[in-house]
């Protein structure tokens, strides 16, 4: 029983972080499905989401406004990034495009440092800071916000891909681009849409986590790598895989931090990543190779 309280506590914080990783992982997966590239600028969208929300809140202290405004802004950044940095490439081999996304990440981070400097900023939690007691453990309202909004986003995404014509067209493009073009789907549009959607998910992740960790210009790099690891662990390109990968990674990190030492936290992601790559390269859920 003594061990149960900390365990529950670790689980709560692990699932919260895991939900954030999942949102980022889904962004990686959506762009991968549309283009077969890894967008290494994905983490920067998380950072931009957090910092834009903080700045909007500073000017007009309304959280819904800050949330919506930041998501819209960052979605535009994602769309512009695809339009200006990726689409004009003459010979768009995957490796060339991936290198461009790495460059884009460095650029976006640099610009963010110019705008916001190197300080960390706080965003108030969405509904106060009074812990809720859950048996022997406590949970912050912000944890619930993270889990709830992630769950809603995942369900909405699933509905989008399963039920809407555009969502089905995006899936069709991922399965067979040539056939998709032959039935009249503009593949370029679907790629652009995937960048917009991924940027929105990243921004959402950043805004959700800002009240827990503060927002700072270089927060995107590590979160991006964690999201990428989660995507690979779960199965790149699979929605269920992204969610599962994120949660598994978050919980594993929290357990390692709690029971061993916080120094091992970041190593866990890479240990899990290697383990999956060796034992089950298609990921836990088995996305695409």
């Amino acid at each position: 029983m003594e061990n149960f309280a900390p365990l529950l506590q670790y689980l709560i914080s692990g699932l919260t972080n895991g939900a954030i990783y999942a949102l980022i992982a889904l962004g990686f997966g959506i762009i991968y499905n549309a283009t077969t590239i890894i967008n290494f600028a994905q983490g920067e969208m998380v950072m931009l989401g957090a910092l834009c929300a903080i700045s909007i809140y500073h000017v007009a202290p309304s959280l819904p406004l800050a949330f919506a405004g930041a998501v819209v802004l960052v979605t535009c950044v994602g769309l512009v990034f695809e339009r200006l940095a990726l689409r004009p490439v003459k010979d768009p081999t995957p490796i060339a495009l991936i290198i461009i996304t790495v460059g884009g990440a460095v650029l976006i981070k640099g610009v963010a440092m110019l705008i916001w400097g190197k300080e960390a900023y706080a965003l108030p939690p969405f509904s106060g800071n009074d812990p809720i007691h859950l048996g022997p453990a406590t949970i912050l309202p912000q944890n619930l916000w993270v889990l709830g909004i992630t769950a809603i986003s995942v369900l909405a995404l699933e509905a989008f891909f399963r039920l809407t014509l555009v969502g089905k067209a995006m899936r069709a493009c991922a399965y067979n681009t040539r056939a998709a073009r032959l039935v009249g789907i503009a593949a370029g549009r679907m790629v652009q849409l995937s960048f917009g959607l991924s940027a929105a998910l990243g921004a959402g992740a950043g805004i959700l986590i800002a009240p827990l960790t503060l927002g700072v210009y270089d927060m995107g790099t590590m979160l991006g790598l964690k999201g990428f690891s989660a995507a690979i662990i779960g199965g790149l390109g699979s929605l269920a895989g992204g969610v599962l990968g994120g949660l598994v990674l978050g919980v594993a990190e929290a357990l390692a931090t709690g029971f061993i030492s916080s120094g091992y936290r970041d190593a866990v992601a890479f240990l899990l990543l290697l383990l999956v790559l060796f034992l089950r390269p298609q990921g836990l859920v088995g996305g695409r190779k």
């Binding site: 067979n176 040539r178 073009r181 039935v183 789907i185």
Partner: protein
């Protein structure tokens, strides 16, 4: 209806079609036969805007040069690609729905559903399998779905790339009979085949393609009698049998 003049197509700097000239009239079934790698698929993909090309290409009086594939479909020209190319993990219903992708914005749901019924009349088996994953169906059913998906775009000209590939003769017969039925309903058809015997039986006219050039054309019935056509589609050297004439 379809006019192709001096059309060449390229993969990078490699030329896969050289100066192809041919036409398809409204209401015809025209077949294009040729051996492996003669350039049949390349020609269909050039028509549909998937391959770089030069020359002249017009459909119903409108030039197709420089148009994107998704625009060309909208003009009433659909391709049933080689190897079916279904959206394999998606259901039969979803594949058919995506076939009509460009129509949802402009047309009523009723018009699209009417075409769905038309496809079910042509291939009743699809109706029983709406919820099945396309990739898990038999080869013949997949070919039916591929044709059904192309028909959902309501084409005036249907291009088919080797629909008989890998199918039992009886299934091939059935599918080709459906093509005649479609023609009776007003769809013009350009049928690419390696299986010349079968194709010439349903077609009105035929072209023979060899290493990127049209080497022979004429009424299907005439070519069917022509022993040399059998050779041509087997990929023998053209000279070998023209010199014997």
């Amino acid at each position: 209806m379809l006019k192709i003049k001096n059309l060449s197509a390229y993969y990078g700097s490699v030329r896969a079609l050289s100066g192809v000239t041919m036409h398809v009239r409204e209401g015809e079934i025209v077949t294009l036969i040729g051996a492996n790698s003669a350039g049949k698929t390349t020609l269909l993909n050039a028509i549909c805007g998937l391959v770089r090309k030069d020359g002249d290409l017009a459909f119903a009086g409108q030039s197709l040069m420089g148009l994107a594939p998704e625009v060309i479909v909208g003009l009433g020209l659909s391709q049933v690609p080689e190897g079916r190319q279904l959206f394999a993990p998606m259901t039969v219903a979803e594949n058919l729905e995506l076939g009509a992708y460009r129509r949802y914005r402009k047309e009523s749901k009723a018009a699209i559903n009417a075409d769905l019924e038309r496809v079910f009349q042509l291939f009743p088996r699809l109706k029983d399998r709406l919820a099945q994953q396309a990739g898990t169906m038999s080869g013949g059913e997949q070919q039916m779905l591929a044709i059904g998906r192309a028909l959902m775009a309501r084409p005036r000209l249907l291009l088919l790339d080797e629909p008989s590939l890998g199918l039992a003769p009886i299934v091939v017969e059935d599918i080709l009979a459906r093509l005649s039925q479609l023609r009776a309903e007003g769809v013009t058809i350009l049928l690419v085949e390696q299986n010349a015997r079968v194709a010439l039986k349903v077609a009105d006219r035929a072209y023979v393609l060899e290493t990127g050039r049209i080497i022979l054309s004429g009424a299907a019935a005439d070519l069917l009698q022509d022993r040399q056509v059998t050779r041509a589609y087997l990929g023998r050297d053209y000279k070998e049998f023209t010199e014997g004439r």
